[in-house]
């Protein structure tokens, strides 16, 4: 039906879609453009709208309002079975009464593909997920990771231009998850299909994605590459959700040269300022903070004193949680060659004001994370 060459991913254009359940706005004016062949991850805490967005694209959920284009065609109102979009579910959803081979052949049988071609394509798909030897097994005879690989083969065997994955690795343990992430990345590269991947795991999103859309409370907070989200978060929520971070809150004073925050009785400054009537907070990545014993200065004009609250050995270095003067926790990473600190030890944290991100405070950023 489709050849390798024509099997290019389709673009997806989500235009201000809204989905309400009674008074609850599951999706609130969400817009997103996905390039053909792109690996787009929808990242966010549970209930943030990422899975609802996926279900809308798959055709499982109706829209309250908005437009959805797949490959340039409006698919609003088109039932799921006519969309030709592959879906991989967290719970595998393999048919328990069919062998692996018949599961993978299912979408081809529905499309009237002849026996010989069907068998060839089933084997090719199983080859791609390295499950060729399991064609005659039943799903109940496979492990979770094997079942999910079969589900992946079943979702790509009919060469859909778009593949949706809803937390596909959520039920698997860490080692297996990391290995399958690389497998999924490889399969994406080989197929050229547009992937939309839903997860609440920010590390997974960083490993897999070309770009990430961060969801919070039914809205998209920011869309960008992992590096953009990490280095230049546009909201406090994004900064907190992606990677480790230290948030400094305190009495703020802005003037022409920048912003100063007063934390306990120490003042830190950054050459940035926020416009509008918002409370500014500073967000710092762990590697932007240097940890020193008192009296040993480091680079950067800002110094905060604190006490080691937690020391975590990571193998490649150590991670410290430092309780600051106002009781808040700062997160610092230091490499193996640095000296190590003990819990309770008094330390100084140094950073360059230019490395601090100045963001508008958002009380919900903390609550939605947990």
């Amino acid at each position: 039906m489709t050849t390798k060459a024509s099997n290019r991913g389709a673009a997806i254009e989500i235009r201000s879609i809204t989905k309400t359940y009674g008074d609850f706005r599951a999706l609130d004016d969400v817009s997103l453009h996905v390039e053909p062949g792109e690996f787009m991850t929808l990242l966010g805490p549970s209930g943030s709208g990422k899975t609802t967005t996926l279900n809308v694209v798959a055709g499982f959920t109706d829209l309250t309002s908005g437009t959805l284009l797949v490959g340039g065609k409006n698919v609003v109102g088109v039932p799921a079975h006519k969309r030709n979009i592959g879906v991989v579910f967290q719970h595998y959803a393999l048919f328990p009464h069919m062998t692996v081979g018949r599961n993978v052949a299912y979408p081809l049988t529905l499309r009237g593909v002849g026996k010989a071609e069907r068998e060839a394509r089933v084997l090719r798909a199983l080859d791609m997920v390295k499950m060729r030897d399991f064609a005659h097994r039943y799903p109940s005879e496979l492990s979770g990771g094997q079942q999910q690989r079969v589900a992946l083969a079943r979702a790509i065997v009919f060469d859909p231009p778009v593949l949706l994955m809803d937390e596909p690795l959520g039920a698997l343990d860490k080692k297996l998850r990391e290995w399958l992430q690389l497998e999924i990345k490889r399969i994406h590269r080989e197929l050229g299909t547009t992937f939309i991947y839903v997860t609440h795991d920010q590390e997974e999103a960083l490993v897999l994605s070309d770009r990430i859309a961060v969801f919070n409370r039914g809205r998209i907070e920011q869309v960008g590459t992992g590096r953009e989200l990490y280095d230049e978060p546009s909201t406090l929520f994004v900064g907190r959700f992606i990677g480790d971070s230290t948030v400094l809150r305190g009495g703020a004073r802005s003037d022409g040269t920048g912003t100063a925050l007063k934390i306990a009785d120490e003042t830190v400054t950054t050459p940035r300022r926020l416009s509008g009537d918002v409370t500014p907070v500073m967000l710092l990545r762990p590697e932007k903070l240097s940890i020193r014993r008192p009296g040993q200065p480091a680079a950067g004009q800002n110094r905060l004193s604190g006490r080691i609250a937690e020391a975590i050995y990571l193998g490649s270095g150590s991670k410290y949680e430092v309780a600051l003067g106002d009781g808040s926790l700062a997160i610092v990473r230091s490499s193996l060659t640095d000296e190590s600190f003990k819990i309770g030890e008094q330390v100084d944290l140094w950073f360059d004001g230019a490395d601090a991100k100045l963001l508008a405070d958002d009380a919900s950023a903390e609550t939605t994370l947990t």
Partner: protein
């Protein structure tokens, strides 16, 4: 059971466990032997020994055309009852899995309440409903369709029996259906299956174990039905149990009655043995979750 699964020490420990399980089942076993095993043995013995030893009762059964006609009809009516029960119970059981807990409770009660009413009472109410001037025919007449003969016909018997046996179909079906993951239907649709196709390729095969279980219970119970066919049926819808009753209670031919019972029992075994391989295969597949 557990003794077989137990991996360690198949010797003493396993054996003592098996004995304990056996001891627990003993009262039930004694009851079964006393009220089923012994009477059954007596029936078989009497069918071979009255009025004298030999197979004369069996040769009488197979050489009397009316017996064979009624035997065949008994199986036919039971098959029809099973088909009607599947047709009625399948959507009902499916609905039970789809509704909320409160509606489900009402639906379960609707299934169970007839159980608490005596079979004779229920059958007599069917007489009132089905008779020529009964409720059903009055409605049909009023609607301009005209009357249908229901009482003293095979159709009437099938309707009445199906109603009595319906719970035996609904309950096993429901217990299987509630275990079917409805998300599989969504997966089937994402792979390109229209809802109706998804039903026939995914839901139906997974629900078949329930259909088989219910069908076997209903069919076997229907074979031995006595009151309902006797009250709702006419001479052309007599079932084997009525003939047995005639032989034993009216003619005091215990041997002939016994032979009829044994023939019915063996015929049932034969039929189940023929159906078993297909069912077991499907059942095994459906049970894989």
């Amino acid at each position: 059971m557990s003794a077989i699964v137990e991996p360690a020490k198949p010797g003493t420990a396993g054996r003592s466990r098996a004995w304990k399980a056996f001891a627990l089942a003993l009262p039930a076993l004694i009851l079964l032997v006393a009220v089923v095993g012994y009477p059954l043995l007596m029936i078989v013995l009497r069918s071979l020994s009255e009025p004298h030893w030999g197979v004369q009762n069996y040769s009488w059964f197979f050489s009397t055309p009316v017996n064979l006609v009624v035997l065949k009809r008994t199986f036919a009516i039971s098959a029809w009852v099973t088909v009607v029960c599947v047709a009625c119970a399948y959507p009902y059981a499916y609905l039970m899995t789809a509704v909320g807990p409160k509606v489900r409770l009402v639906m379960v009660l609707c299934v169970l309440i007839p159980f608490w009413v005596s079979g004779v009472v229920r059958t007599l109410s069917w007489v009132i409903l089905l008779q020529d001037s009964g409720v059903i025919n009055s409605v049909l007449k009023w609607a301009g369709i005209g009357t249908v003969r229901l009482i003293r016909t095979q159709t009437g018997v099938v309707i009445g029996m199906a109603q009595v046996l319906l719970p035996f179909m609904i309950l096993p079906l429901y217990s299987v259906m509630k275990g079917i993951d409805l998300r599989l239907m969504r997966a089937a649709q994402s792979l390109g299956a229209r809802p109706i196709r998804a039903f026939f390729t995914v839901y139906l095969p997974l629900s078949l174990p329930g259909v088989y279980a219910g069908a076997i219970i209903v069919f076997i119970l229907a074979l031995g039905f006595y009151i309902t066919p006797a009250l709702l049926g006419g001479p052309r819808s007599t079932m084997l149990s009525t003939l047995v009753q005639n032989q034993v209670l009216s003619l005091l031919q215990w041997g002939r009655g016994g032979a009829m019972g044994v023939v019915l029992l063996l015929a049932t075994f034969l039929l189940l043995a023929l159906a078993a391989p297909a069912m077991r295969q499907k059942h095994k597949e459906g049970a894989r979750h």
